[in-house]
Symmetry: C2
Subunit: 615 residues, 2 copies
Amino acid sequence: MKISNFIFGDPLKTESLASERLTKIKALAVFASDVLSSVSYATEAILISLGIVLSVTYTIPIALTILVLLFLIICSYWQTLKAYPKGGGAFAVAKNNLGEFFGLITAAALFIDYTLTVAVSLSAGASAIASAFPNLSNHIVAICLIILMFISIMNLRGTKESAGILAIPAYCFIGIIFLLIVFGLFTEPGIPKFVISEEQQMMMSQATITFLVLKAFSSGCSALTGIEAIASGVTAFNPPQYKNARITLIAMGIILAFLFFGITYLADKFHIVPNYSETVLSQIAKIVFGNNLLYYITQFLTACILFLAVNTSFAGFPRLASVLAKEKYIPSRFANLGDRLAYSNGIIALSIAACFLIIIFHGQTQLLLPLYALGVFISFTTSQIGMVKFLCRKKDKYWYLKAFLSGLGATASFITLLIIIESKFSDGAWMILILICILFFMFKKIHKGYTKTDNELDLKSGGLNKFLIKSKNYQPKVVVPVSRLHKGTLNALNFAKSLSYDVTAVIININNKETERLKLVWRAMNFSMPLVILNSPYRSIVNPFLEFLFEQDNRNPEKGKAIVVMSSFVPGEFWQNILHNQTAAIFKTALLYRKHDSEQTRVIVEIPYQMKLDK
Amino acid sequence: MKISNFIFGDPLKTESLASERLTKIKALAVFASDVLSSVSYATEAILISLGIVLSVTYTIPIALTILVLLFLIICSYWQTLKAYPKGGGAFAVAKNNLGEFFGLITAAALFIDYTLTVAVSLSAGASAIASAFPNLSNHIVAICLIILMFISIMNLRGTKESAGILAIPAYCFIGIIFLLIVFGLFTEPGIPKFVISEEQQMMMSQATITFLVLKAFSSGCSALTGIEAIASGVTAFNPPQYKNARITLIAMGIILAFLFFGITYLADKFHIVPNYSETVLSQIAKIVFGNNLLYYITQFLTACILFLAVNTSFAGFPRLASVLAKEKYIPSRFANLGDRLAYSNGIIALSIAACFLIIIFHGQTQLLLPLYALGVFISFTTSQIGMVKFLCRKKDKYWYLKAFLSGLGATASFITLLIIIESKFSDGAWMILILICILFFMFKKIHKGYTKTDNELDLKSGGLNKFLIKSKNYQPKVVVPVSRLHKGTLNALNFAKSLSYDVTAVIININNKETERLKLVWRAMNFSMPLVILNSPYRSIVNPFLEFLFEQDNRNPEKGKAIVVMSSFVPGEFWQNILHNQTAAIFKTALLYRKHDSEQTRVIVEIPYQMKLDK
C-alpha cells in the first residue's frame, strides 16, 4: 500500500474534484500540444511518400492544399464551440444529430486515434532523441516504453496541477521552431537543387504519380490530427467559455499553419532527403543552427512537445471512455474515478493498447503513420455533418452561411477520408477499418447486455421470492455437501440445522475406503440428519451433487429451491489456496452457470473456516 | 466436451483400474526404453567432452569404467527388488531408511531427472530425425514440441493398453543396433586412425587432461539413467514378481552393456568426430550400412526408442508426484486420478516443465546433457545407502555380502556423483543443485502448511460455533450491503428478514445524487429495517463497509459475528461478467483475507440473481 501511495500519490477526496479553469494562454499550451507536435513528422511523411523525384515538384502544392483543409475544418469547429458549449466533442455531436450508429463509429475511430497518437508521438519523440544521440537509435522501443510508463503514472497521479508547468516547453517549442524558420529563410542551401531529367519523369506513369501524390497528401494530413481537442474541452476555459475557446482555436490554427508550412518550405529549399536514422526536422535544424547547443535544444523541445501530445491523448481517451461507460457502451468501470480522481481504468487501457502498438511496430513512426489520420478524418466528417444538421434545425442568424461552411468542411474531410482509405489501404488502413467495425459491434453487444440486465432486474417485472425460515408451517430444504468431517464442515452442519429441520448431508463417494471411514465417524457423532452417499463412478464431484440437488429442488417444489450450505476453507496465507481443492468455489460456479430458470432463487450459504494468519 | 472426449477419450470408471500385469518380454520393452535409448547419445557425449586429441586414447577405458559402474548398480538394485517388492523406488527406500531429509532430496532429484529425460530424449530423437533429413535441422524445437504434445495426449488418454504395441519398436531397435555392431566389426574404416604427435599431447597439462577425462566419464554416465525404472514398477510384473523383475533387470543390464560398449567401440574404430548437424550413431550407421534403407530404418528406430524413453518418464513422474501428494509434500490434486484414470495433473506439470526446458535450451541435446545424470546419481547414492541400512537391520542370510555389494555400489555412485558435480559444475550442474534445494524447501513448506491446517481443523481442538436463527431469545445480527434497489437486492433483503429481525441495510455513498435517489425509493418501499448510509470520501467501497461490519461484530458480541447477506449477479453469458462490478466477490475476498481471529465464524449468504441464459 505504501509503495503504491508513493508512486501514485495519496488518495484524493471526491470533494476536491473542483473544476480548475484555464486561461487562454495555458489552454493553448494544453490543447495545442497534439496538433503542433505533428510539425515534427508531417513534413517527413509527405517527403517519404513522394520519393526524391516527385518531391521537387509536389511538396509545396501538397502543403498548401493541407492548409486550405485546415482553414475549412477550423471554420467548422468554430461553429461547434458555440453549439456545444458543454464540450462533448465529435461523439456527442455525431450521436445527437446523426444517431447511435454514427456516434459509435465516431467513438471507435476516436479510440483508435487516441491510441495511435500515443504510439506515433512516443516513437517520433524517441526518434528525435535518437537523431541527436545516434547511440540510442537501437533502443527506440525501450525509450518509448519507459516514457509511456512515466506518462501513465503521471496521469494516474492526476495531472491537473501541472498544466501551468507543461505550458513552458510548449511555448519554447513554438519559439524555437519560429526561430528556425526565420533563420532558415536567410540560410543558403549547401547542396544545389536536384534537377530532374525528362526521362526520370517519363519513367513514371501518370497513374503512379497521381497515386503517390494522393498518398503524400493523406500522409501530410496527419498534421491536422488534434484540432478536435479544443472542442472536447470547452468547459476547461475561463468564462466566457466558448468565446475564449474560439480565440484559442484560431490562434492554434494560425500557429500550426505557419510552423507546418515553414518547415515544409525549408525542407524543400534545403532538398532534404528523409532517412531512417535522422528526422527531417533534425536535418533542417543542423543546417540552420549548425551542430551546436541550439540544435540540441531544438531536438529536446521536439521530444518534449511530442511527449506532451501523448499527454493530450491521456486526457482525451479516458474522458471519452467514461462518457461511453455512462451510456453503457463499454464496461461501467471505465466511469469510475480512481484514488486520485483520474479515470484510472481508461488510463490503464490506453497504456496497454499503446504498449502493444509500439512493440508490434518496433516504434517506427513511418510504419504507424499510415494507420493514423484515418480515424481523425472519420470524426471530422461525422461531426461536421452533424453540425450541418444541427445548424439547419436551429436556424440561427446566418444559419445558411454557417451550415455552408460546415458543409464545405464536411465535404473536404470526407474527400480526404476517401483519399486516405484509397492510398493507404494496403499500408494498414484496412486494419483500422476492421478494428472500427469490431469496436462498433463490441459497443452494441455490451449495450445490449446491459439493457437486458436492467430490464430483467427491474422491480416492475415481478418475480420476487419470499423466504420463510423455520417457522411452524415452513421448513426450507437444506443440502450440505461434506467431504471430510472437520471443524469447517461441522460449522456448516450446525448452521444448516439452525435454518431448518429438513437438512440433508451429502458425501460424494470417490474412494470407497475413505467413504467407509467417514460413515463410521458420522454414526459415532450421532447427527440428527440423514447422510446421503452419492456414487461417482467417473470421480466427478460436481455432476452427482448437482443431480442430487436438482432432485431435491423438485421435491415439494412449493418450498422453493434447496438452500446449499457449504463450508469453505480460507488458508492463513494466500498462496496456500493452491494446496486446497476449492470445492466450494467449484460447486458455486457449476451451480450458477449450469442451465437454470430465473424464476426461483437459489440461496448459497458459505461458512468460511478462516485459518489464523501466520503473520 | 465432445472435442475433449474425442482427443482424450471417454471418461473411465474407477472400477476399471484393474492392475494389468506384464510378461517379462513386455516389461523389458516398457522399462528398458529409457536406459537403452541412452545408447544413442552417451557415446557422443563422451567424444565431445574428450575432444579429438584425447578421444584416441581415453574413449575405450572410460566406456569400460562405466560398464563396471553399471555392474555395481545392477547388483544393488537386484537387492532392492526383493526388499521392496511393492515398488516405491528410490524415494521410498531413502525415506524409509534414511529419513525425510534424504527422501525429499531424492524426490527432488528424481523430479528434475524425469523432466530432463523428457527434454533430452525428445531433442535427441529430433536430432536423429534431422540427421536423416538435414532439411529439418532448423526445426528441432518445433519437432520436439509436436511430439511432446502427442505423447502428453497419449498419456492423458491412459496408455495401459498400448504396452504391447510399444514393445515392437523397442525390440526392433535392439535388433538393428545389434546388427549394426556385428556388421561394424567386419567393416574397414575409411579414414586412417588419427595419429597424435608428442607435441599435441604435451600442449595439454596433466590437470587439463584429468579434468577432461573426468568430464567425459560423467557425460558417459548418462548411459546409466533409467536403471531405476524397474525398481519403481515391480508391481507391474507377473508373479512371482520380484523374481521376474530380477531376471528382466539382468537382461536389461546385459543388453545395455553390449549395445553401449559396441557403439563406443565402433565410434573409436571409425574415428568418428562429433558434429552438431549429424549424430555419432548416424555417422556409424552410414559407414556400416551405407546411405540406404537400412540406415533410414536405424534412424527411425532410434527416434522411436527415444520417444519411448519420454514415455517412461511420463509413467514415472506422475506416479512419484502422486506418492508425494499423498504424503502431503505437494498439492493434493496431484494424487487425483483424471477422467482416464491417469494422474492428469502430474502429466500436465511434466509437459509444461519439459516444454520450458526445450525452448530455453533450443532443443540442443549437448546443452541439456550436463544437467542430466546428476539427479539420477543422487537417487542411486541415497537409495543404495538406504539399502545398506535396510540389509544391516534385517540381517538375512548372507546379509554382509549383500550389504557389501550395495555399499560398493553406493560408494561408486557417490564418487561418480562428486565427479559429475566437479566436472559439470559450471556447465549447468549448479542450476540443478539450486533447483534441488528450492524443491526441497518447497516440499517442506507445503508439508508444514498441510500439517497446520489439519491440526487446526481437527475436531478435538474445540472452537465450534453454535448457531440459532430467529428464536424468541436470539436474533443474529444481519447486514445487507445494497448498491441499487433491484430484484437481486430485494431477494437478499427478504432472505435477511427471514433470518432475523435485527437486519441493517447498508449503502456506501460514492455519488451523492445516486444516494439521494436510492433513499427516496427506499422510503417509498417502506422496508421495516434501518438503512445506514456510509460516506466514502475516497470512493472505496470495501473499507467503509468492513469498518461498519466490525462495529456490528462488537455490538452484543455474545451474538457472534454479523451475518452478511449479499445479492450477486450471474449474467446469462460468462463473458458478461466483465460488465459488472463483482461487488459481492470483492466484499467476500476482502472479508476473508482481512486480519481475523478464527474463534468465531462469519456466515456469508449469497443470493445469486441468475439471468436467463441467452442460449
